[in-house]
């Protein structure tokens, strides 16, 4: 048992700390998607982090990563959290899907742009008729010579408004059982026939969009893996997406907690004893979540079920939603009267138990795949 850094990890950590000392200040407010300006600030932060070599560190060096073990991703998250920095770009799950399944030509063409954060990517999975029941998607990619022709509609597509590429889950085989008829494609969002429509969330965030595909031509060379492999790739991705470390979750919550701590210690916000105790309880939660994520990253190679991400997401969601209830109360009257910042943050925390697989779906995965309970 050893939670401490090996010498190489310690060097990496020290390097990142030094980089943050020099560069973080100009990016402090780079974490929003509420307006074109905030999106621009966020992308600038992602590019700065990528330029310094701290995005996709566990990906092969040939594709813009550094070929380091998964645990280095945890180090990046821990250090960003400790420095109260904005989260890293949420691309680990997309990058791993491509790195693990695409052929060499496709990897070489798209991975450097993704990992370097030069091109923004979105993920076209959910549809109006297929949310939790993802295998029920009806968007089709019909083979037609050396291309596919895509028709259908995606929804809840994060970052679609400013994305250059979309990782699209679509049905290529209409005569096969539903899980087996899916394939994964890389779609250039500037192809004729792609239409996007913004979705404004209850919190005011403009991160999401609907995407419509009307006879969109996609080169056959942009198929990831093989036809019919889409479901397997999607599950592989979700295992990463549900791992909080990959998504900058630990960093984000650490940042919120650090902000609350500073507010209280400096006297900017007055907290009575019950509220201070609730903050301490939230601090316990965040700390335990951080230890847990570190442990799961260190052991991910041995997670034979691939369901560890669901455990982590359930834990992180519970921790996050409690934390935001506490910071809502810390905001006091300004939570309801005044600028909507604290309320919007709280509202966004409610989305954590919905996206990437709802809390209920995650529990089913844990119950059936980890605990081995029978399907109903």
């Amino acid at each position: 048992m050893d939670f401490s850094d090996a010498p190489a990890v310690a060097d990496f950590r020290a390097g990142l700390r030094a980089w943050l000392r020099d560069h973080l200040d100009e990016h402090r407010d780079a974490s929003g998607y509420e307006s074109a300006e905030s999106v621009e600030r966020t992308l600038r932060w992602h590019r700065a982090l990528a330029g310094a070599g701290y995005v996709g560190v566990s990906l092969p060096a040939a594709y813009g990563g550094r070929g380091l073990p998964d645990i280095y991703e945890a180090v990046v998250n821990e250090e960003l959290a400790a420095a109260a920095a904005p989260p890293p770009p949420p691309i680990g799950h997309i990058a791993h899907a491509i790195a693990d399944f695409a052929d060499e030509d496709l990897k070489a063409r798209v991975l450097p742009g993704l990992v370097g954060c030069e091109e923004v990517w979105c993920q076209g999975f959910s549809e109006p008729g297929a949310g939790s029941d993802l295998a029920g998607i009806s968007t089709t990619a019909t083979p037609d010579g050396d291309r596919f022709v895509v028709n259908g509609q995606k929804i809840w597509t994060s970052g679609a408004m400013w994305s250059r590429r979309c990782l699209l889950l679509a049905r290529t085989e209409t005569d096969l059982p539903r899980h087996r008829g899916l394939s994964m494609l890389v779609v250039d969002m500037e192809t004729p026939g792609v239409d996007r429509r913004e979705i404004v969330l209850a919190s005011g965030s403009r991160e999401f969009a609907e995407v419509f595909f009307d006879d969109v031509a996609v080169p056959a060379a942009d198929l990831i893996g093989e036809r019919g492999q889409g479901w397997r790739i999607a599950m592989h991705m979700l295992a990463y997406e549900r791992g909080p470390a990959d998504m900058g979750w630990v960093g984000r919550l650490g940042r919120v907690l650090a902000g609350a701590r500073d507010d209280v210690r400096s006297g900017r916000v007055t907290a009575d004893a019950p509220l201070r105790h609730r903050l301490a309880a939230a601090a316990v939660d965040v700390q335990v979540m951080q230890w847990h994520v570190t442990r799961s990253l260190a052991n991910r190679a041995a997670d034979s079920t691939g369901s560890g991400g669901s455990v982590d997401k359930l834990l992180a969601t519970r921790v996050e939603q409690n934390l935001y209830r506490v910071t809502a109360d810390l905001a006091g009257p300004s939570f309801t009267v005044g600028p909507s910042g604290p309320f919007a943050d709280y509202l966004w925390s409610r989305a954590q138990s919905i996206y990437g697989g709802t809390q209920q779906i995650q529990r089913q995965i844990v119950a059936q795949r980890v605990l081995g309970l029978p399907r109903g």
Partner: protein, 356 residues
């Protein structure tokens, strides 16, 4: 970074589990609150405990011990919790570590390691910390113990009869008013770092006992959910039951991560960092274990409410462990005062630090 048990530790876990299961097998004799078996181990059982080296595990070699790491000790303690072992191993190990930290004579420590002298830790009346005086102090996990020591005075006290206690697997006993004459010990107060390390050690062990307790509650509930049939199907196939058990699994795994970190930190970090980690782990384990054991009672339905089913034994042990050396409210209170206090709260933080 290597966050798992070593091959040796896994083998040790297996041998501990076997003996713990054996020791626990004799416990389920009570058929009601009035004929519950005593928690006091018989001579044969206690000899097996001593022969297994459990009491000597953590003591340094010059004190007759094996000098094991805190992680090694928590491997054992998780099994004690898993099998709800009644023999007072945990109390003895904590009392021995306290005496070792206060530089008790090697001869005494050696006798404790061999099982020849049976000692229990003296805690405050509310069980939240080590007792500073004998008045109203309680010896915890004291079944069969002959004595408890108040280290500040070196006084060795005999013990009264067991008090009614939630945890049926352990005894709590008052200290005799007057020390046993003339056996006062000459002890030396530890420095701040060693004192913090002792706290970290004890809290890490309680966390491991809670972890074992909740894991066994979950495993038993899972077995029941797979076999109990209602509406023509195992109740474990119903989503409502599955969701309850999935939530329990998440809490068990998070507690395991916290337990591993705290145990590693108790040896690897300085006293202050180690005790902060252990405090955090104990707070999380305390609330999580109660929730998991309550969920298990729920899955067992009416059976879970009977004396014969062991679900309540685990819930009881979880509640008692939760209180011993501070529940979540206590530890979160300390964290609130040290890390979340503003200028208007000044002074309180220092007062609380010295208290804890």
């Amino acid at each position: 970074m290597d966050i798992q048990l070593s091959a040796e530790q896994r083998a040790f876990r297996e041998s501990c589990g076997k003996l713990a299961a054996d020791l626990a097998a004799r416990w389920h004799l009570g058929r009601g609150p009035h004929d519950v078996a005593s928690a006091v181990p018989d001579e044969a059982a206690w000899s097996r405990v001593a022969e297994a080296g459990w009491l000597a595990l953590r003591l340094r070699e010059e004190n007759g011990g094996a000098g094991a790491s805190v992680v090694d000790v928590t491997v054992l303690v998780e099994q004690l919790g898993y099998h709800a072992v009644a023999a007072p191993v945990l109390g003895t190990v904590i009392a021995a570590e306290q005496l070792q930290t206060w530089q008790a004579p090697p001869g005494l420590l050696q006798e404790i390691a061999e099982g020849a002298v049976r000692v229990a830790p003296a805690l405050d009346r509310d069980l939240t910390g080590f007792a500073g005086t004998a008045a109203e102090a309680l010896a915890w996990d004291a079944a069969g113990a002959e004595m408890a020591v108040i280290p500040t005075s070196g006084a060795v006290h005999g013990l009264g009869g067991p008090l009614p206690f939630t945890d049926l697997t352990r005894e709590v006993r008052p200290l005799d008013g007057r020390p046993v004459d003339p056996s006062s010990l000459t002890l030396t107060a530890p420095g701040d770092d060693a004192a913090a390390r002792l706290d970290a050690f004890a809290l890490s062990l309680l966390t491991a006992d809670l972890l074992g307790t909740m894991q066994s509650a979950l495993d038993a509930a899972l077995d029941h959910a797979r076999t109990r049939v209602q509406f023509g199907a195992p109740i474990g196939s119903f989503q409502a039951v599955q969701q309850l058990l999935a939530d329990s699994h998440v809490l068990v795994e998070a507690t395991r991560s916290a337990s591993y970190y705290a145990a590693w930190a108790a040896d690897a970090l300085d006293g202050r960092a180690a005790s902060r980690a252990a405090r955090t782990a104990k707070a999380f384990a305390s609330r999580s274990a109660v929730e998991v054991c309550e969920n298990a009672v729920q899955v067992f339905g009416g059976i879970g409410m009977t004396w014969e089913a062991p679900a309540h034994v685990r819930l009881r042990r979880a509640h008692a462990d939760r209180r011993v050396l501070g529940d979540e409210h206590h530890h979160q209170g300390v964290i609130a005062d040290t890390e979340f206090s503003g200028p208007a709260d000044a002074g309180r933080a220092e007062a609380d630090l010295s208290r804890s």
